[in-house]
């Protein structure tokens, strides 16, 4: 594999660009490079590297310039990447996550309906018919970026971001879908609510989802959403029970 570009974040990090657009192909390249760099760090082959994180089409390697120089690091990274192939094997898990679309859970559905020329039911049907791939985790702890949203649901981000998007919001923009694990500012269109906690710091793997996992949204009623929320809150149900069988 060849890096398209290397971009320096001063003396702190290097971003390796592996594709020009987001999607499953880019994610396969990111996964291959991210895993290889992490393995090399674990094996002590990349001294000074502190952290490795993948985005849609790039991997950012954070380093300590007291222990290495960017020049040395970049040479080592290029050599490491050259023999790699994109990670095509779909080893991830498959999830079926409940999503309540009605009323207050999807406040942007009416506006989307007008902009897309689709009625609300058609938007929900299309949104829940897709098997998404987790393309990246980022922005907030455990937040999954899901692709690819069907082209006929694609809209640019809202021009005026909300100051507060409630935790659990399922939101779309362009060809992507996210689930907000935390209350946060946000500029995406809110279409529904998913009650499953995506990040619990006490777990061995705090993030529920991993890059490469696939998931579908299962439309649920308000009553069902309440039942599921209650069972999750009192520990009667674990998030793993939403793995598709």
């Amino acid at each position: 594999m060849i890096a398209l570009r290397l971009r320096a974040l001063a003396d702190r990090a290097v971003t390796i660009e592996l594709a020009d657009q987001a999607g499953t192909e880019a994610a396969a390249r990111v996964a291959a490079v991210g895993d290889a760099v992490a393995a090399a760090v674990a094996a002590g082959q990349l001294p000074g590297v502190r952290d490795v994180a993948g985005a849609f089409a790039s991997v950012t390697v954070h380093y300590d310039c007291i222990e290495t120089s960017q020049k040395q690091l970049v040479e080592a990274l290029k050599a490491l990447i050259a023999p790699l192939e994109p990670q095509t094997a779909t080893t991830g898990r498959v999830w079926s996550l409940p999503c309540a679309y009605a009323g207050t859970h999807g406040p942007d559905l009416p506006e989307l309906s007008a902009a897309l020329g689709l009625d609300t039911a058609a938007i929900i049907e299309r949104h829940s018919a897709v098997t998404y791939t987790v393309l990246a985790l980022g922005f907030l702890p455990g937040l999954p970026f899901l692709g690819d949203l069907p082209a006929d649901l694609a809209r640019p981000r809202r021009s005026a971001p909300r100051a507060r998007v409630p935790a659990g919001s399922v939101a779309i923009a362009n060809r992507l879908c996210v689930i907000y694990p935390w209350d946060s500012p946000g500029g995406w269109h809110l279409v529904g609510r998913c009650p499953v906690p995506l990040f619990e710091i006490g777990r061995d793997q705090p993030a529920l989802l991993a890059v490469g996992d696939r998931l579908r949204f299962r439309p649920v009623t308000d009553a069902e959403l309440n039942d599921i929320s209650r069972d999750l809150a009192r520990g009667a149900r674990s998030p793993e029970t939403f793995l598709a069988t």
Binding site: A8, L9, A10, R12, S58, I66
Partner: protein, 354 residues
């Protein structure tokens, strides 16, 4: 076990250390102190491991009482106040001075200079659980530190036992502050702005706007334009503290410790490691100028500054606490090691009564 009892919490007092170094792959921001230089020096002064947790405050200081034992502390720059013993006796305390809070003694600090973020180091650090290798507070997701939140009145901060035996009374001359323009390396997306945009960015004087928090410092100045055919939006990629993103309004934001892990705005430049701590100590209304350097120049500056800090940490001076006027001591320490405090005749006026 000794603890610090929070009598008053201060406006925003957080447990922080060097941050969650390995969480970005999960979307966990670095967090940690805004000023890692001061944390390193306070920990050296207190004989702590370099990354021991401290309290970072902003705007107003907490009022803390030692309970269940003695607690050693040291203050970073911008902080001063008094220690009130259980007997009611008061003694002054200033920055860069290790001292011991006897059991029941209360630390009462003045408002930090200009309200800027400041640090209280604690002997032995804090005995709180480590998450992802860190005791930092992640406010965005409510974990780490003390229950993932800012301190509240009534909180008890457990201090490890090994902190309670030392005598206290040492001081540390901080290295001279770095001055001049804040140095940046152009990129990672300086190509989104073209040569003209980058020149304008580097030539301008920028003012810190009131919207300043642990996530970012917004800069006000001339509107930056994007190169023809380019805009603010990029395919989201990795971020580090110091990266300067420019949203569609053309006004840059320097990302700080709590910044999100990825971002979708073009980043015109990145502040070098050596200069970020002093930027993180600035307040709204302060102005700054920028200068472009290369990556090797940035790395050389980081190594030089690290050597300064190591030297400062190594020159901390032992002083017999009961033989000195601590007020004179901290005023001397403030002067940045201009006097040799191991020699009585070089120390301003307080050793005659020993």
């Amino acid at each position: 076990m000794a603890a610090l009892h929070v009598l008053r919490p201060g406006a925003r007092t957080l447990v922080q250390d060097m941050g969650f170094a390995t969480g970005r792959g999960l979307g966990v921001p670095l967090c940690g102190v805004l000023d890692p230089e001061t944390l390193l020096l306070l920990n050296a002064l207190l004989d702590n491991p370099p990354g021991a947790a401290a309290l970072e405050l902003a705007m107003t200081a907490p009022v803390l009482q030692a309970v269940g034992g003695a607690v050693r502390i040291a203050l970073g720059p911008g902080l001063a106040g008094r220690i009130r013993a259980e007997t009611g006796e008061m003694r002054p305390i200033g920055p860069w001075q290790e001292t011991t809070l006897a059991p029941r003694a209360v630390l009462e600090l003045d408002r930090p200079e200009r309200g800027a973020p400041a640090l209280i180091g604690i002997g032995g650090g804090l005995d709180l659980p480590r998450i992802l290798g860190s005791r930092s507070t992640c406010l965005a997701a409510g974990f780490g530190g003390l229950e993932g939140r800012a301190l509240r009145a009534g909180d008890l901060l457990p201090v490890p036992d090994d902190a309670t035996g030392a005598a206290g009374g040492r001081t540390l001359p901080p290295p001279p502050p770095l001055e001049g323009p804040i140095r940046v390396v152009p990129g990672p997306q300086d190509d989104s702005f073209g040569r003209a945009g980058l020149s304008r960015f580097l030539a301008a004087e920028w003012t810190l706007s009131p919207a300043l928090d642990r996530m970012g410092a917004r800069l006000a100045g001339p509107k930056l334009d994007f190169a023809p055919g380019r805009g603010a939006d990029i395919l989201s990629d990795g971020i580090t503290p110091g990266a300067i993103q420019v949203p569609g309004n053309g006004q840059p934001i320097v990302l700080l410790a709590d910044a999100q892990t990825t971002g979708g705005y073009a980043k015109i430049a990145t502040v070098i490691r050596a200069d970020l701590p002093r930027l993180a100590r600035m307040m709204p209304g302060d102005t700054l100028c920028l200068a472009a350097v290369t990556v090797p120049e940035a790395e050389a500056a980081a190594r030089a500054r690290a050597a300064d800090l190591r030297r400062a940490a190594a020159t901390r001076r032992a002083l017999m606490q009961d033989r000195v006027d601590e007020d004179a001591l901290w005023r001397a320490a403030l002067e940045g090691g201009m006097v040799d405090m191991t020699r009585p005749d070089h120390f301003p006026g307080a050793l005659d009564d020993g």
